[in-house]
Symmetry: C2
DNA sequence: TAGATTGTTAATCGATTAACAATC
DNA sequence: TAGATTGTTAATCGATTAACAATC
């Protein structure tokens, strides 16, 4: 029998949510042919403290070198690994409406080592066609397709009312659901990883800030 | 001379970012004809503590009543107000690509009291046409249009390279920029409210979790 | 070696939770 | 009135920052 758990006292959610941002900045630095960077320099670029950067990275092990800083390519590689970009994850988009198609046409997946392999919909007019080189299949074929093709991730862009049922089905054939449907899927109810995304929440935050900025002046 | 500031010791960002979620749950409760709700009941529904709900709401004043709880419609109205849904904000979409059109076709804006009035692009083939009843204009007309039509919000869905220049222009004619471009606009550099949104970050978080869930088993 | 910068511990800060008096 | 539940203060918890010894 092996050891019980790897997790080094379980990395906090706050840290995990910052990883993609590090990933983006490091990708940019590589493009600029930057070879090394210190936590202080990166902190200025990103608008965070150097302490936070060192603390964050050390949750996963020592990626830097005293007196030198961090090797940009090496660090980028390590963070990519943490985020699973080298796992060759495969994704499908469930719901070929405007949002589903916008996601399908973006280079977001490719850039992160994920293959977006197909779309699924109920619309007979769409089934059998393709979009940006990706086939659109009937939702009836979804489960079988995912199991046979080792699909890891389902991007859920169906109408609210269909979301729960679809998530139940997907729980049986994928590892994670990226949910754009305008309803929250309670992660406890599904035996897979669920990430709910509510784009409009950020729009409302923006409105809150606009409103507050301007009401201050009136007082 | 009036008082210096309204702000009741400035509501924390953590609280503000939770408001849209309360808003969504309350909208749902109204649909279900629920008249009143206690913080305990709502906490179970949302998977947070009752303490947090009461604490959050009290940043903005007493919306409840001892011994009774919260009137759903009243509370929904108060939160709507905080989020500016009754301000009649007007938005334009800058960039009529797949994402821009997906946003333009969604009911997200209407549902939150925001009028999405037009799209802008550089593509001559699109200029002069309309999409979901919204006109598509040349980006050359952007500034003048925003000023003349009292546009409050610009949704930025242009390619990365054009984002900075566009944001500088928009700073002169709108109150807030909702930035989907794959680059971060430093809010300090622009004299308007900027909300950067990186959809793919949430996808990467999902990948991180999938990867960690499954690697645990191997140990 | 001297200088730089990490890794890591300890101190601080802020956010969350618990508790309960106020009051409907 | 008695019961329920808020508003609010105090206690706890966790996350961020500061400091510095380790070391490249």
């Amino acid at each position: 029998m092996r050891r019980i758990k790897e997790k080094k006292t379980e990395v906090s959610n706050a840290v995990v949510k910052r990883l993609p941002r590090y990933y983006r900045y490091l990708t940019e630095l590589i493009k600029q042919n930057k070879l090394r960077i210190s936590s202080t320099e990166l902190s200025k670029l990103m608008g965070v403290t150097a302490s936070q950067i060192r603390q964050d990275l050390n949750c996963f092990g020592g990626f830097g070198q005293q007196g030198y800083g961090y090797n940009v390519t090496y660090l980028h590689g390590k963070i990519s690994e943490l985020l699973g970009t080298d796992e060759g994850y495969r994704a499908v988009i469930v719901g070929a409406g405007n949002l589903g198609r916008a996601l399908a046409s973006s280079r977001m997946f490719d850039k992160r080592g994920i293959s977006c392999v197909a779309l699924f919909d109920t619309d007979e007019k769409l089934i059998g066609t393709s979009f940006y080189g990706k086939p659109i299949y009937s939702i009836k074929a979804l489960k079988e397709y995912c199991l046979e093709n080792n699909v890891d991730i389902a991007v859920l862009t169906v109408p609210k009312d269909a979301a729960f049922e679809m998530a139940s089905l997907l729980s049986q054939c994928v590892k994670g659901i990226w949910n754009f449907a305008n309803t929250e899927l309670n992660p406890e109810e599904f035996p897979v990883i669920v990430e709910n995304i509510h784009i409009a929440d950020s729009l409302m935050t923006l409105c809150y800030e606009i409103r507050n900025e301007h009401s201050e002046e009136e007082i």
